[in-house]
Amino acid sequence: MRTLARQINILDYALSSLWRRRLKNASVLVVFTAVIFLVASFQMVTDALTGTAQEVLVNAPQITLQRMSAGRQVNIPLAYAGKLGAIYGISNIVPRVWGYYFDELTGANLTIMGLDTSRMPMGDQLRLTLAEGTFPAAGSRGSVVLGQAVRDMVRARGSQLLSLFRNDLSMASYQVAGVFSRATDILTRDLVVMSIADARDLFRIPPGQATDLCIYVANPTEIGTIARKIADLLPDTRVVTRPQILKTYRVVFGWRSGFGSICLLTALTAFVILAWDKASGLSLEEKREIAILKVLGWQTADILAVRFWESLLVSGLAFLLGVTLAYVHVVFLDGVLFRPVMVGWSVIFPPFHLAPAMNAQVFFLIFCLSVLPYLAATVIPAWHTATVRADSALSGA
């Protein structure tokens, strides 16, 4: 009981000594909270995106085949699909015509996707993903399904039709047959889905060509083998497999990306400044205080405990506040501070409707990167206190 009462007394002393230097400690707390907030927000956003990608893209095409020429992707002849017949194990090949449409009025980039959905896996269930309307029947021309952002654009123009310009500036108009649900926003927000014939007509792509081929195999464990066979058979193509897509999304928001480094660098700089301030020895005033406390019967361990409590409180509070604010920022405010950075100059702002990441590992990592080094940097130099001699508070020494 006595020991506990003593520790609480020491905690009281640490708190009042923090309070006495409240301006300095509050600024340290604010800076530290801001750094943890920044790092935690970054971690949570990227975690949520990575997690969502891994969950969602397990259904991506097993193999995507593109043709390369002069170092860039070009249209692939449909005849290539015929050549692939020689490879045993391919169960389905679906050509797609897709690309981007720059809307001059709003400055937005739309993704136009033309394909025969009836040939795709689960293609017959696509109507379930619509918030309103129906999915046009296979081969029917002149009607489109829109993502939420595109629907909003059409609506803002007070029109029932989506009007796009072909590259010869003639206009093509489409009936809006359906609108994708908000639940699929993270995938479909900027999409315009139409029949492959309409897409060919819009982009002026000759009938014998497509943008790429989606290839499905009978046995999913054979994806790698068949991808290699395709690459051997058609050397001018690039073969992207589903595992590669998932791998891309595992590393795409890494610490190595520029923004990650900026966050990390900021955190590191702030931390070094704090640590420098703390580690640069004791002031005369502090030495006097330590000597007085020692003479009055404080153990060296008691004085170290004061230091420890001070550091633990500042860094612990900063950690709790920073992480809490980061969660509110990412989940309730849709990562409002990061979105301009992540989506850049995109006109279509996808709402971050993501599965919230409450990953204990992330919190532990941030804890290890913030609180522990701060404790180390502030408590270890406090061994100085042990070198302050109690009798230096006396006149003769």
Partner: protein, 225 residues
């Protein structure tokens, strides 16, 4: 409490080029409830002697005992425990923490003893009443007058109710009036049964009627007892 020192020697920086012998085989016996002045110029070793009696550090060699308890070979931890319970210190310039309130300054020795806040306040207030500084309870120590400062320092030395009071050059920075008041307060404590040891070379201290004994120290040796 009886204080006994037997051939106590203190050497600083032993074995190094700047080795200094501060105390050279001192033999000294201070009876319980004595009021003693250690007189000597600066560098004479009187502060070192006070530190050894005050359990701040052990002697390099020799025997030191308070109330029959040997201190010479106690590790730092136990010296501190002993100091916490038996010794009250009054420093030159009083060494209060200027940012702390008078109340907090007086309670400082009670914190490591694990005394709960209510009892701390009660004990500190009793002393503040006794020394007429209760109205300064919440003032920072840096903002009160010299006379009050002195009484706060004495209150702090008494708060853990120690049998021995050690005062280190207490009048060095006080005017004559305050020095006189200080010595009268010490005499009062002495009358109440405390053992009091004061280092000083101030005649106001050495010639005070309550001082029972003057110990002259020069070059780490006791000259006349």
């Amino acid at each position: 409490m009886l204080i006994e020192l037997e051939s106590v020697t203190k050497i600083y920086n032993q074995g190094q080029p700047n080795e200094v012998t501060a105390l050279d085989s001192i033999d000294l016996r201070i009876e319980e409830n004595a009021m003693v002045c250690l007189r000597g110029s600066s560098g004479s070793g009187k502060s070192t002697l006070l530190s050894i009696i005050g359990c701040i550090f052990p002697p390099t060699s020799g025997r030191a005992a308070i109330a029959g308890r040997q201190l010479a070979r106690l590790p730092d931890r136990f010296l501190t425990l002993h100091r916490r319970r038996s010794i009250g210190f009054i420093f030159q310039r009083f060494n209060l923490l200027p940012a702390l309130s008078v109340m907090d300054n007086i309670s400082l020795p009670l914190l490591p003893l694990g005394v709960p806040p209510a009892e701390r306040r009660q004990r500190a207030r009793a002393l503040m009443d006794r020394f007429a500084i209760r109205h300064r309870e919440r003032f920072p120590a840096g903002q009160i007058s010299g006379g009050e400062l002195q009484r706060v320092a004495i209150a702090r030395a008494l708060v853990n109710d120690p049998p021995i009071i050690l005062a280190d050059e207490p009048t060095a920075h006080l005017d004559t009036g305050l020095s006189q008041v200080f010595m009268d307060l010490m005499a009062e404590l002495h009358a109440a049964g405390k053992t009091i040891i004061i280092t000083s070379h101030d005649p106001l201290v050495t010639e005070h009627p309550a001082i029972g004994r003057i110990i002259d120290i020069r070059d780490g040796r006791i000259h006349a007892a």
